[in-house]
């Protein structure tokens, strides 16, 4: 039992399977290639944003700007990538650089990341609005073609999420450098004693967070018809909830990349699930909140059982 519980992804996985199973039973038609593509169509950008959040949470910080940041990336792509690719790439790289610098400053000056990233959420929101004051835009056709590609047997979003989870698992959980990243969240002093720079590590994590935030924005751009500056603003809270749902903790360097991706999938599905079981539209947000509470309460119980 203990060895099973060690796999923190187990609980979110069970939640996800239960949700999917119920949907299959209620709507057998979803149990098809097309049905699955529909259910999971927006999972990839959410999963990428969750991963971006996870990198920051892994080092005991939090990023309240990720939603606005992803929105900025999305509107940049739909506005410039087709016509002025140089501007688009420049803006996106600049965004990653600035995000990295924010991480470095947070550590260097011991500033609370919750407020700095809150301020940055206004900043990125403003940038997004300046790039695209009115809804519209158009992603390059090649991008749409990539994110909507029809892969054999398993729909692309699901496939991509599995690959994403595997890659991140290798990077964060299996590689030597991942050990250092997580160790920083666990015991900064131990990392410093090993002769490493905590500022450097935190910057690296914010860099990765910025990179995956941009990826999330790019993928989202390919999925939508038109974008506005608020397109991903709910990703901030969604990503935090998904990381925690996926077995992460706010402190202690305890995160699970696979869990985070599964958490993102669970939250994406929860919405579909609620409409399938005919929860009235009015109550759907509330039921999402309830699912979040139940999942976290369950986790609290299993954690207590462990100790």
């Amino acid at each position: 039992m203990i060895t099973l519980l060690q796999y923190r992804v187990l609980l979110p996985l069970v939640t996800l399977i239960a949700l999917t199973g119920t949907i299959f039973i209620l709507q057998p038609r979803t149990m098809s290639y097309f049905g699955l593509s529909l259910l999971f169509s927006f999972i990839l950008p959410i999963a990428l944003a969750t991963v971006a959040q996870m990198f920051v949470i892994a080092v005991n910080e939090i990023d309240l700007s990720i939603g606005a940041y992803v929105s900025f990336a999305t509107v940049t792509v739909v506005t410039y990538l087709d016509t002025d690719p140089a501007i688009a790439v420049g803006l996106l790289l600049g965004a990653i650089a600035l995000h990295t610098a924010v991480g470095a400053l947070i550590q260097l000056f011991q500033m609370p990341s919750i407020v700095i990233t809150l301020g940055m959420s206004f900043f990125w929101g403003g940038c997004a609005l300046m790039v695209r004051p009115l809804p519209g835009g158009h992603a390059p056709d090649w991008l749409t073609a990539i994110v909507k590609v029809k892969t054999p047997f398993v729909p692309f979003p699901i496939l991509a999420c599995v690959v994403l989870a595997l890659l991140l698992h290798l990077l964060l959980m299996r590689s030597a450098v991942g050990t250092i990243f997580r160790g920083t969240g666990g015991n900064e002093r131990a990392i410093r004693n090993a002769g490493l720079s905590v500022t450097g590590i935190k910057s690296a994590m914010f860099f990765l967070s910025g990179l995956f935030g941009v990826l999330s924005g790019v993928v989202l751009a390919g999925l939508i018809v038109s974008a506005d500056a608020d397109i991903a603003s709910n990703y901030t809270l969604l990503s935090i909830a998904a990381v925690i749902l996926g077995g992460g903790l706010f402190v202690g360097g305890i995160v699970s990349p696979t869990g985070a991706v599964i958490g993102a999938a669970t939250l994406t599905l929860a919405a579909s699930f609620l409409s399938f079981i005919n929860v009235p539209a009015d109550w759907q947000t509330g039921a999402q909140g309830a699912i979040l509470i139940i999942a976290l309460a369950l986790r609290g119980i299993t954690e207590r059982y462990e100790h």
Partner: protein, 484 residues
């Protein structure tokens, strides 16, 4: 000594000083460790043992003096990881591992060149081989997260990690109370391993309160007292009793037994303490006006005892923290607010705190116990440690509670302030307040009417009157049985 001439010096400390503010933790420590020996480092609470090993390991820079290592020269400018690369390893009491990483991953943090394909297996093999070596039958899986292991197992991992060797040779391992969370069997295994380790020409600096460990594992013993080396002798030439006596101070019993008042009160007037106690100890109670001291080795259950009394009697008690930063200080508040927090209910009019009464209360106590500050509105953190401590006393004494619990409250306080604090305690006891006073200093225990000596989490003996002396306290805190 014969052996010294044969064995070259590995580590050489000359005139090492370390002070924290006005407190001198180490003064002029000179010490040479000769290759292939296990050196025992002993001393009573606050003798400077922790500071000394922190200086050697590189966690603290010395205020003065030099630490030199064989073949390298001075270590003073080297960081912890550089010292570790030279073969100086350290196992401190607080865990320096990452609780969220696995046993193997924590090993990699020390051996960072283990990377690339198969590093996890290599790190796992390395640590498991060493665990097998030191603690046969340990049953620790290499890919378990550390926080999921029991405390003893974590300690075993930390110890084993310090002995693991890849590119450079491990030459000196510092062990600070390594057996504190190990069971008897693992402790014995560790001691055996330390012997084989030093017989292979390596060194070990072994810090322990347990005298049987010191006598069985070390080649020589260094006794620290008040930040100085007072005694260094080969283990075979000394005895447990001699070591213990060297730890004590020469001028025992500052006040003398004659001065001690005999305390009247009856048990029935007091409150039951309900402390964990050995079999021969009668139920303990604290009488009005009584000062009871809690003694014994640091961390042997005294603080827990105080907190259990607080939890039991709540508002009847007030607590004076010794670990100021963690347990006492509200760092963003002024002296006034820090003082009044325990007495707010006496300052109310219509539910609102009267500013004048609050200021008066703070000023009165500031004068009464001589807090040296520009005014009561100054930030608490702008004061010296001793004055901060006085504010915590003021907080406790200003409250309406009859019972004052004190958790080694003079920790890191200068001598003058201590004297003042003792006077306050005596004066307050006269007015009928009772004190439960955990102290790590013998002198302070002489101010107590009774002293409870703790050993391994329990009250081992109750000393009264002339029985309260340093010899008794040391003897009982090291586990001596009450003689009939």
């Amino acid at each position: 000594m014969q052996t010294d001439k044969i064995r070259p010096v590995l580590l050489d400390l000359t005139g090492v000083d370390k002070s924290f503010g006005q407190v001198h933790a180490l003064s002029g420590v000179s010490l040479s460790l000769h290759q292939g020996l296990c050196t025992g480092l002993v001393g009573h609470n606050g003798a400077g043992k922790s500071t000394l090993i922190n200086v050697i390991a590189g966690f603290l820079p010395p205020s003065a003096g030099d630490v030199a290592f064989d073949g390298v020269g001075t270590l003073n400018l080297l960081s912890i990881d550089q010292r570790s690369a030279l073969g100086i390893r350290c196992v401190l009491q607080e865990l320096s591992l990452c609780p969220n990483l696995t046993v193997a991953e924590n090993t990699q943090l020390l051996h960072r060149h283990l990377r690339g394909r198969g590093w996890r297996r290599k790190a796992a093999d390395l640590i498991i081989a060493k665990l097998d070596d030191i603690f046969p039958g340990h049953g620790i899986a290499p890919h378990t997260e550390l926080r999921r292991l029991p405390l003893g197992a974590r300690q075993m991992v930390e110890i084993a990690r310090a002995f693991t060797q890849t590119t450079t040779e491990v030459r000196l391992v510092i062990l600070d109370e390594p057996t504190s969370s190990l069971d008897t069997q693992s402790s014995a295994q560790l001691l055996r391993y330390v012997r084989t380790f030093v017989e292979g020409g390596k060194n070990c600096l072994f810090v322990s309160h347990k005298m049987d460990e010191i006598t069985s594992v070390t080649d020589e013993v260094v006794v620290l007292k008040d930040g100085r080396v007072v005694h260094q002798i080969e283990t075979k030439d000394t005895s447990r009793a001699e070591i213990v006596s060297k730890m004590g101070s020469i001028d025992t019993d500052l006040r003398g037994a004659s001065q001690k008042k005999t305390f009247g009160g009856k048990d029935s007037d007091g409150i039951a303490l309900g402390l964990p106690a050995g079999p021969d100890i009668p139920p303990l109670s604290l009488r009005p006006g009584e000062v009871i001291g809690l003694a014994g080795l640091a961390g042997d259950g005294q603080t827990e005892a105080l907190k259990s009394v607080l939890a039991r009697y709540k508002r009847k008690c007030t607590f004076v923290a010794g670990d100021r930063a963690t347990d006492g200080v509200f760092p963003l508040w002024s002296i006034k607010h820090n003082t009044s927090i325990g007495a707010l209910h006496s300052l109310l009019s219509n539910g609102i705190i009267r500013s004048q009464s609050e200021a008066k209360l703070a000023n009165d106590w500031k004068d009464k116990i001589g807090i040296r500050a520009s005014g009561i509105d100054a930030d608490l953190t702008s004061l010296s440690g001793g004055n901060q401590q006085k504010v915590l006393f003021a907080r406790a004494l200003a409250s309406a509670s009859d019972i004052v619990l004190m958790d080694d409250p003079t920790r890191g306080v200068d001598v003058g302030t201590k004297r003042e604090i003792y006077q306050i305690i005596e004066a307050e006891a006269q007015t009928g307040r009772s004190f439960l006073w955990y102290s790590t200093e013998f002198d302070e225990l002489t101010y107590c009417d009774r002293v409870l000596v703790f050993c391994q989490g329990k009250v081992a003996v109750v000393l009264e009157g002339a029985e309260i002396n340093e010899q008794n306290v040391i003897a009982f805190s090291f586990g001596q049985k009450v003689s009939a």
